[in-house]
Symmetry: C2
Subunit: 416 residues, 2 copies
């Protein structure tokens, strides 16, 4: 264990202790100050970002990855607005989740408390630094941040702005820390900081998530990987199905709740496939189909086993004709990543079975998978989308950053 990692852990734990009893108004004050400082110190932040961008250019990084790294005045404004939205969200800490009295007169209350110390390991986008800090502060958690080396200077500048704002409040400055050691080993040590970290949330591609699960000894919440399906049932309204498939695939192909595979019931394959394939072609989507699909439509490349597993995050889609609802459910439960799954149908019992039997965080009937998002659900900003079953499933907002505690009050009760 590197000294610097242990030190960061100790500071976070001390900060968390203080932060856990901070008032909502003090936390909101900090969020507003951070929002202001992001804008007033935009030059410092953007020039740090410029250093990262130049390094990225030297490495030949282009396209979506470079774009994710880029900060602009507009993006800083979005981050600041995001913080102000968190100010408006209800503070989850102190909520009495349940309460009752037992026969001997003891009063039991179950109340929400912060988790304590949250650690985040994440990839390119520097806005995660600000979003995570905001949600953790509001929910009374100290946070240890660790972004990717490609965004090092940007993340560091953002953290400095956040900490400067904290120093003007009653909250501990160490409520938000950035792990300054850029080495792979430091990240590995962070994953093993048992006793200091209450939850570690990795955000990024599949390899980051896998490596975290493989190496972490602190509790982890698995997030984000989404191999999502749209299944068009025999009774589907085909126009509705087309609209939903296009939206789920094309509205924003690079995100985790975009559809990656289309399943079509064989009874309507002859009617639906020509319709959808034409529409997907128009939008420049590359298609990979099963032999059945390729018999019906042209311009579809042969799909391999890999295509059923892949999260393309791109204008690509796999297409498979299935013989039944059972086959569709079995395919999804085999290849899906338990994120977001949709059926388009007008058959009541099939809709019911699909929602019951598909094992995923969000299961849709007659709607696009693209709604799996804290904001869309009306839950507020999210720190990630959990694809595991423990603690939180689906969009994780403020409540998911809390634990509970039993408070028991009596007047001398003992156990007989």
């Amino acid at each position: 264990m590197r000294e610097i990692v242990l030190e960061v852990g100790k500071r976070a734990k001390r900060a968390a202790m203080k932060l856990s009893t901070a008032s909502t108004s003090e936390k909101n004050k900090a969020l507003k100050l951070i929002a202001e400082n992001l804008l007033s110190q935009k030059d410092v932040i953007l020039s740090a970002n410029q250093v990262d961008l130049e390094k990225a250019d030297q490495k030949g990084i282009t396209g979506a990855l470079r774009d994710r790294l880029l900060l602009t005045e507009g993006r800083l404004k979005e981050m600041a607005n995001g913080l102000l939205e968190v100010v408006e969200l209800k503070d989850p800490v102190g909520e009495v989740v349940a309460g009752w009295k037992i026969s001997n007169g003891l009063e039991i209350k179950k109340v929400r408390v912060p988790l304590g110390v949250v650690a985040m390991i994440y990839e390119a986008r520097p806005n995660v630094t600000v979003d995570a800090a905001g949600l953790c502060l509001k929910s009374g958690n100290a946070v240890i941040l660790r972004g990717s080396s490609i965004a090092w200077n940007s993340n560091f500048a953002l953290t400095r702005v956040i900490r400067e704002a904290l120093s003007q409040t009653e909250l501990p400055v160490d409520s938000v820390q950035y792990l300054e050691d850029p080495s792979h080993e430091a990240a590995q040590d962070l994953m093993k900081l048992v006793g200091y970290i209450d939850v570690l949330i990795p955000r990024g591609g599949e390899s980051l998530i896998r490596s975290t699960i493989e190496n972490a000894k602190v509790p982890v919440i698995e997030t984000g990987v989404g191999n999502c399906h749209v299944y068009v049932d025999a009774s589907a309204d085909l126009e509705m199905a087309k609209r939903i498939v296009i939206n789920a695939k094309c509205q924003r192909p690079g995100v985790c709740n975009a559809a990656e595979t289309l399943l079509v019931h064989q009874k309507i394959a002859n009617l639906f496939l020509p319709l959808i394939v034409e529409a997907l072609k128009e939008r420049g989507v590359e298609m990979f189909g099963c032999p059945e699909t390729r018999k019906i439509v042209s311009g579809v490349q042969p799909a391999t086993e890999e295509d059923w597993k892949r999260e393309y995050l791109d204008l690509k889609i796999a297409i498979k004709v299935v013989g039944s609802l059972d086959e569709a459910i079995a395919h999804i439960n085999t290849y899906g990543t338990k994120h977001s799954e949709a059926i388009v149908t007008n058959d009541y019992l099939n809709a019911r079975r699909f929602q019951e039997e598909v094992d995923a965080a969000a299961v849709y009937v007659n709607a696009s998978t693209r709604f799996t998002d804290g904001g869309q659900f009306g839950l507020g900003a999210e720190i990630g989308i959990s694809t595991q079953k423990l603690h939180a499933r689906g969009p994780m907002s403020l409540a998911e950053l809390t634990s509970t505690k039993f408070l028991i009050s009596g007047n001398g009760q003992i156990r007989e």
Copy 2:
């Protein structure tokens, strides 16, 4: 990864899929059948237990450990009754935890679903085999059991009885499996069965818990280790304090919610220590005190740093005089295991601060720590007491063996 462990995992996953949609009445039928069979097949079970007991005797195992291993007709009846109590508990699966409609007309429901596959690694007491199977079945989870080698034959016989009962129902027999490979390596493999186990719950002593956290790659819930404190504040009713301390220490010293350290405010130390030390002596409790304590009372051995950390699980207690509420809270947050902590006080603000600032699953004012128990809280039988903050904290009953899932229903909604 040993083939046998992977095979058990695959079977559990298949069983879980089927079990997740099983009806409450079918699950209750299975529980009742198991309860009946435990009694009708008592001879087989008790003779298997006899084999374990003889081996234990050869190894010179005596006292509490041998007693925990022992099965009797009475204990089998208790297990059977425990199952019938679980029959009476409300099935958590399908409960709509929350539901709302968003502006575009999408209906969102958050419903309880089983976790999937629960694995338990546990020590001596064979009743865990039956208790865990019962709670997992009722909550729709498949369970993989792995007891200690000392109770091998007993656990195996109990599992056979459970599986025979399952074979007479519609539920999959593999809903309850016992990992038949007794090797240490097989247990280690079980901890690493990522993709097959949704949660692993270790139950036993500190070394088992530590080793599980150290080695597991599947999600773990930390349970049970309880270094619990009673703090007697300056304003405490001393008779009430005495009653609570005696109960917390002596009513059942071998359990996790028994008190291990007594903290006494210096203002009342001269009055309270003679009173409590005499009462503890009468009950045969060995005492280890700080220098301050030993100045005031005799018959108390010197406490070392180790005494503040130890979970004695025995008629032993550490005693420390503290100068303030702050010192008491700091001591508890330093040495406690976040299980159950109590203050005895008549000072309103101190009671409030103690409950807010002590970081533990259950924080008591003027009551014994011995109430931290699913049954006592009125929550029903428990599968363990979580001392971590993720997913569940405190007694874990049926609801804590579930996850949730978002069901979203629409009529063609797409994201703009």
